[in-house]
Amino acid sequence: MKKLQKRLIIILSAVILCAIIVIAGVKYIPVRKLLHISAPPEKDFVNLKQNSNEAPDALFFDMEIDPTKSQSNKFYKGIAHSGQYSAKAFGKNTYSFSVERKVSDICKGKKLDAVSMSTWVYSFPGKNEPWGAFVFAVNNSMGVNICWKGIQVSGKQVPRGKWFKISGMFDLSDIKIDPSCTIQIYFWNNSNTDFLVDDYYIVFGKQQERKGDTTITDMTRDPVFHSKFNTPPYPVFYFEKQESGNENAALVSNQILQGHFISSQGGREDIFLGGGNSPARLLSYCSGEFTEVKLNIPAEISSCLRSGNAITGCFQNSGNSMILFSGDKGSFLAGFEKSGNPCSGKEATMKIVWRSAGKDPFGKGKIVACDIDNNRITEILSIANDGSWKIFRYSGGQNGNWKVISSSQIVDFWNNKDQLSVISGRFLQKYSYDVLLTIFKDKGSRVYQYSLLRFDAASGRFLPCFAEKRKGFGRTVGIDTLKPGDIFFTGIFDKSGTPKVLRYNRDWRYDLKEIRFNDTTFQVISNIDFKGYDRDHNPKYYESLRILSGQFLEPGINTLFLVAKNKKTVTYLPDAAGTYSWRKEK
């Protein structure tokens, strides 16, 4: 054979081989499948807001497009699962509208470990068997495909001429996906049957693990539960909703105060609503519902209600509650003139009985209203940042004034703390007067500490209630830690007459617990939940829950007055206020 013939044969063979490789490649290698598909700009969508779904880590595309935009030819008008438009994937090896995102934009620092997605599909009737896939693909920063997953729709059983939903979830935890990668989501038609797709819904990430370290109670190891001190789970006690009416007046107020404003000390407490854009109101529980008492309030007070801080207390020996307002322009003390029976329908008039002459006498530190000496008159404890303190008592009368009845050296617990809260209340049964619960965090420390202090009138000092060997610090046992932001309620909540202490924390979730202080620590007695609310409107579900505790419904027995709100109006969970009483049953 001549050389030329040999060459020709070799060249011919090479050409044939190349042709075979190309044909086989086209047929068997999913080149198109891995191709980068350019997406139309999402700004062409009409419902951009709706498309950013409210639920977290999710995208939603309803395919409603502005028909004047350049990419509108990728969409089909007239057959849609929702609205008017759907995305087209017509003909073999075609692609619908594609969602593209950088991983860093969708994961916000978290690992992209899973994706769940769904879409509605419409397969046109015809003789050809449909074959399509809803695709999730990831390309790295070089544009190389590193992940391709698809929810396949194929076969004779695929519904034709009607919308049906497809969905799936892909675990991506085995795939290294950098924040710089790009994800694409689209529908790929690999058949001669035309497809429409609508309403993409894409959720990124797996379900988050619960907070916390490990489950403590294991009934599989020991079927007999041995309750351990301050170890959850705790029993649950309930407050049950009472029919009291008109509580929703509290929804528009940002200043809610309680006290015996017009009722006598032995009667029910009133609720004074101020602030916000509505006028001040006073609610008193009469004949099974809260009744609004007509008010006559000086304009000065009304304006102060909107901007200033207010503390209530029985600052005089009249037994009636008064309000100490403090604002930019100084302080003043106001109270209602006695009107007798709050349910009489008579107008109640508020009067200012004391006004600061310029400078606030209490200083700029922390102010706590408390009855430190069991004389049933509320004093004002003023704590300066350096831990020094003064106790003021109002002298009463027409020309009354605040007098310092005690002051002394620095209390270490109050000195120069990073965070500090001082709450007065009947935290210890053995003392019939208010003691001061101090919760703080030292600067540079991550640990919250607390102490209980009582005022010793004889020595004029605050003394720790906890054992001296712990230097007055209370112990924290278990995972429940008292925080400066905690709100405490003390009082008698049921007919047993036993005082209770409730602690409300809202650092994370709603967390109301009954606790009990002893000589060294506090014990968690129970979780508190609610019953009797409308539908599933449990107060604890609201984004904001304000709790007041007072003798609103029955003299001598505390009930909770709850004001539950969400930032936005939610039809299935409307803002609500209500009263809840302790329920005997667990």
Binding site: A58, S116, I166, T215, P232, R509, D536, E543
Partner: protein
């Protein structure tokens, strides 16, 4: 047994029936036929001469009608079912009769043998490809003859050659292990209960021949004595005499009676619940024992049910929310579920598995006055968190049958369509996994050796495990595969953003809100022998209905079909019927409000799944499943509260026919 005189009365009765052949009970076509041999003629074969309950269980003295009998549970636990028992017929045996005319020229004795066969649950006797050959599974059919298999053919007295018919009678009864197979023996004891008579219709075949055919082995030993095998297999006499060599034997006739016997099992739920000592033997365990529930000798012998004690797989441990609630009655909502799902810390959870009772008879009761069984998942309280399964199991194994349960089991969903975590299950399970109860060999790769484990586990040719289920719970369908799982958004535990934690369920899940999934499963132990064995989602047709059958992978031991059905209808009504129609080559699952309004909700056959052929028991339970068993479920069992109150269920009737 032979009575020489002509049974004129018998003839008269026959004549009356013949005349009234269009009347109820005397089916048209029941006209007696004659079977003619060279030396004799046979007619008027009446297989159940002394049993007078017609197929509707009414007293009826007609001779040529089909009849019925209920299985007598008295002492059946130890000795197996006997049809009939002495409680049903004083003599404890059926009497059969036939007329024979000697057409030879000399008086002669003849030989005869009666055979019975369960017709409802059998394989055809002939090979579908070659009707001259026995179907490879026909030996499995439940057939028998005299209880003593050594008693071959029985001789008649001498029949005169007088051109007249002479009556011949005999007796027989139907018992378990009719071939007296050693497989069902324990030592020297024939445990007939290990192969109990099947329920359904029985046919009767009379074979008459000449003594020469017996002594000369023209009729072979394996046909004279059905306990014997030929070529390592039993030969079904119905095949042999009606289709095989026996069909053309000289001077041999096989007459099959048109009258049949319907056998029904109907264990009385009010007849007591036995408690197995293997689970409970200490005195403290017995504090709830009573006359109708416990371990008495009487209950041991006669109770048709036992309390079912679930096997608890320790790997199903879950960390449950510490909430105790009455989901069904306290308005527990999706928002409650979502909050509880997001806002409990790990430390607050309670690690549990589903549990079983500590005190038998505390959660099950047999009520004789109302012929019912009550069960309850007990409510719990703080410190005693439990999700306790409860149920009952029958004690008498059966192979095949139309198993129908009339029950009011607990509702599963509340008015907000929230699930209480329970699965109502009506299921069949192997009576024992011992050798005697092995399933038919799997001839392609074998069965998975154990019912638990992974796809790569050991395979074996024989296995004793079988299970056929109704499992009814709140979950999602598996098929077609492009719908699983729904795209859930699990939300985030952000209490200050309601829409982050209170995420709605996908619309298709919401749309199906009031429905529960009726899951119908056959545990075929991943035997690859069925010609269309497959994994994934595949359709199967039955009477114009299409069912999607799902198997996770080829090593997965069960094939499941799911049908959504309204919870309110199945469990909110006074009662509902659930039926597993287990046949040799198919399984049909039906449900309905009454027996005449059952609808098919599941169908499988032997082309896609190995149908079990061993003895099974019926279980009715209300049980807490770990939802990892139910991929794609919208609710996680661990996020469903512990039950606050008892959750009752009632079982009114169990029938197998």
């Amino acid at each position: 047994m032979m009575k020489n005189s002509v049974r004129k009365i018998l003839m008269a009765a026959f004549s009356v029936c013949f005349v009234l052949s269009f009347a109820p009970g005397c089916k048209s076509g029941d006209k007696p036929k004659e079977a003619v041999a060279t030396d004799f003629i046979i007619r008027d074969f009446i297989p159940l001469d002394n049993w007078h309950r017609d197929s509707n269980d009414r007293e009826n003295n007609s001779k040529f009608i089909s009849k019925s009998i209920f299985l007598d549970y008295t002492n059946a636990f130890e000795q197996g079912f006997i049809i009939p028992t002495v409680n049903q017929l004083q003599e404890g045996q059926f009497e059969f009769s036939f007329l024979i005319k000697n057409t030879s020229k000399t008086p002669k004795k003849f030989c005869f043998k009666i055979f019975y066969q369960n017709e409802s649950y059998k394989f055809p006797e002939t090979d579908p490809a070659d009707t001259t050959k026995q179907n490879m599974y026909a030996w499995e059919n439940f057939y028998g003859s005299w209880e003593d298999t050594g008693k071959t053919f029985v001789e008649t007295p001498e029949i005169p050659a007088d051109n007249d018919f002479h009556a011949v009678t005999g007796r027989f009864r139907i018992t378990g292990n009719p071939r007296n197979e050693l497989r069902y023996y324990s030592g020297a004891q024939n445990d007939r209960w290990k192969r109990n008579p099947r329920v359904g219709w029985y046919s009767f075949m009379l074979v008459v021949t000449t003594p020469a055919n017996i002594t000369g082995k023209v009729i072979p030993d394996y046909m004279q004595d059905i306990s014997r095998v030929w070529n390592n297999t039993f030969v079904n006499p119905y095949f042999y005499f009606l289709h095989g060599e026996g069909k053309s034997l000289q001077n041999t006739v096989a007459m099959r009676s048109p009258s049949e016997l319907k056998v029904i099992a109907k264990p009385d739920p009010g007849a007591g619940i036995y408690v197995k000592p293997m689970f409970f033997h200490e005195e403290k365990d017995k504090k709830y024992f009573c006359k109708t529930c416990g371990q008495s000798e009487e209950l041991y012998k006669n109770a048709p049910f036992e309390q079912f004690i679930h096997y608890i797989d320790p790997t199903t441990k879950m960390n449950n929310i510490p909430v105790i609630a009455d989901v069904l009655n306290e308005g527990y909502s999706l928002m409650d579920y979502n909050w509880n799902k997001q806002f409990y810390r790990k430390e607050e959870l309670v690690a549990v598995t589903a549990s079983t009772t500590k005190y038998p008879c505390q959660t099950v009761a047999s009520v004789p006055e109302e012929h019912k069984i009550t069960i309850k998942n007990p409510g719990c309280e703080y410190g005693n968190w439990q999700k306790q399964n409860v149920g009952i199991i029958t004690r008498h194994g059966l192979t095949y049958g139309k198993w129908t349960v009339k029950a009011k089991l607990t509702e599963l969903l509340n008015k907000d369509n929230m699930w209480n975590g329970l699965t109502n299950a009506i299921w069949l399970i192997t009576q024992e996994q011992s050798e005697w109860n092995y399933r038919r060999d799997c001839n392609k790769e074998g069965y998975m050796a154990n019912y638990y484990g992974g796809a790569q586990d050991k395979r074996v040719p024989k296995v004793g495990y079988s299970e056929i289920d109704f499992e009814i719970l709140k979950t999602v369908p598996y098929c077609p595969s492009y719908i699983l799982p729904p795209a859930y958004n699990h939300g985030l535990p952000d209490p200050h953003n309601l829409s982050y934690w209170n995420v709605p369920l996908p619309e298709e899940v919401v749309a199906d809100g009031g429905n529960i999934e009726v899951s119908c499963t056959n545990w075929d132990m991943a035997c690859w022998e069925p010609q269309n064995f497959a994994d994934g989602c595949n359709t199967i047709q039955y009477n114009g209905q299409t069912f999607w059958a799902h198997r996770w992978d080829k090593g997965y031991r069960a094939l499941t079909e799911k049908t959504p059905e309204p919870d309110d209808e199945l469990f909110g009504s006074k009662y509902y019927y659930f039926q597993i129609d287990w046949r040799p080559e198919e399984i049909i699952w039906r449900i309905g409000p009454s027996l005449d309004r059952l609808r098919v909700v599941g169908y499988l056959n032997s082309t896609v799944s190995s149908i079990p052929n061993n003895q099974m028991l019926l279980i009715v339970t209300q049980e807490f499943h770990n939802t990892k068993w139910w991929v794609g479920s919208m609710y996680d069992q661990a996020n469903i509260p512990f039950p606050k109150n008892d959750i009752p269920g009632e079982i009114y009737e169990v029938t197998v026919e």
